[in-house]
């Protein structure tokens, strides 16, 4: 064990940055020995801090940080539900359209005319709104004939009027679904932003506390 004057001399050189690694190890060992001269007690915390820092070890326990994973799950859930709703809506939409096409193709059939007339009389208020959806639906139905002629010829017929309530209902359904999805997405985004701000604030506060 080194005596006080030896250690004091080493310390003087340590402050100047003139000690060798070996001499610095002697100092560390001395201050870690538990027999520190009273006159050097004021310096002891430095070597205690160095010793403790040297004991910090790498121990990887996580494979990925927690926060981003939660973020991804939320996003994934929103995306998945949006995709599900969209595909369900599309499936339904295309199914209805196919049905509508069949009606037009089999125009002369009297039975369907009766059916559709019944339907149109059952839902009279939807007839007024029918122009927009027919314009969308018709180009797909009309393959070779000029569009203008078909429109004039077909619009007064009960066939197209009968298709409209259904396609319109489908449209409305999809619009509602899309509105729901977009509102959810907006809400989710807002929540995520709120959460991020909150986390930042918490971090700031804890930082201020640890510093103070």
């Amino acid at each position: 064990m080194k005596n006080f004057s030896d250690i004091q001399a080493l310390l003087d050189r340590y402050w100047e940055g003139e000690t060798t690694l070996e001499e610095e190890r002697i100092l560390k060992a001395y201050f870690g020995s538990g027999e520190v001269d009273e006159r050097l007690h004021a310096i002891a915390p430095l070597f205690q801090a160095l010793r403790e820092e040297q004991n910090i070890q790498y121990a990887k326990t996580r494979t990925a940080p927690l926060k981003p994973v939660m973020f991804n799950w939320q996003r994934l859930a929103v995306a998945a539900s949006a995709a599900l709703l969209l595909s369900a809506g599309l499936w339904w939409w295309t199914g209805k359209e196919k049905q509508a096409t069949e009606y037009v193709v089999h125009q002369p059939a009297p039975e369907t005319r009766q059916d559709t007339q019944l339907k149109s009389s059952a839902l009279p208020e939807t007839n007024e709104k029918s122009t927009a959806p027919t314009e969308i639906a018709q180009p797909q139905v009309a393959t070779k004939e000029p569009v203008k002629k078909r429109k004039k010829a077909e619009l007064p017929k009960p066939k197209t009027e009968a298709i409209d309530p259904e396609t319109e209902a489908a449209m409305e359904e999809i619009k509602a679904a899309l509105a729901l999805v977009s509102s959810k997405l907006k809400k989710g985004k807002q929540e995520a932003v709120k959460g991020a701000i909150h986390l930042e604030n918490v971090e700031k506060i804890s930082r201020i506390r640890s510093e103070g």
Binding site: A44, L46, Q48, E53, Y58, S210
Partner: protein, 173 residues
């Protein structure tokens, strides 16, 4: 990378790499990621490259420094996170260490070190905690030998002054 070399030279210094990354990023999570990425990079490095390495420790520390700085810059992390919670606190290693005041003082010294200017902080860390030679420190931090000495001197001087002032302040209370 040869498995034998990896086990002999790289794996044993993982704690050093972690502490260094922690010193730069100030975040244990970030430091863990840095070490893993550096290890992976070394493991995947071509054999010819590892043959040219003369000082494994300095080489790994340099990679750790670069990766840590990249992370710190890209995420604009602040280095003010406290290291206290990660430190092991052995009891009774010194007749003084067990006292409450010394415990607080040691924590204060750690904060003082963390608050040093970056170059001084890293030089002091590499010397006093990782026990690297001046030449190794110069290589890792890509600075001259003179700069290593000047920064180490300044860092120790600052810590000494601040510690003495704190102790005197406590004594007068």
């Amino acid at each position: 990378m040869n498995q034998a070399i990896f086990q002999q030279h790289i794996f044993p210094i993982r704690h050093k790499l972690f502490r260094f990354a922690l010193r730069i990023t100030g975040s244990a999570h970030e430091a863990e990621d840095v070490v893993q990425e550096v290890m992976e990079k070394i493991w995947k490095s071509p054999a010819e490259q590892s043959e040219t390495v003369q000082n494994w420790e300095a080489w790994c520390m340099t990679l750790t420094r670069n990766r840590s700085l990249d992370k710190t810059r890209s995420q604009s992390l602040r280095r003010t996170a406290s290291l206290d919670g990660l430190t092991e606190r052995p009891n009774g290693t010194s007749n003084q260490a067990s006292t409450v005041e010394n415990r607080d003082l040691a924590d204060q010294v750690k904060r003082m070190m963390q608050d040093l200017p970056e170059k001084q902080r890293l030089v002091m860390h590499l010397r006093d905690i990782e026990e690297l030679s001046y030449e190794e420190i110069a290589e890792v931090l890509n600075i001259s030998l003179d700069q290593v000495k000047v920064n180490l001197h300044r860092a120790r001087k600052t810590i000494r002054e601040q510690l003495t002032a704190t102790v005197n302040h406590i004594a007068t209370i």
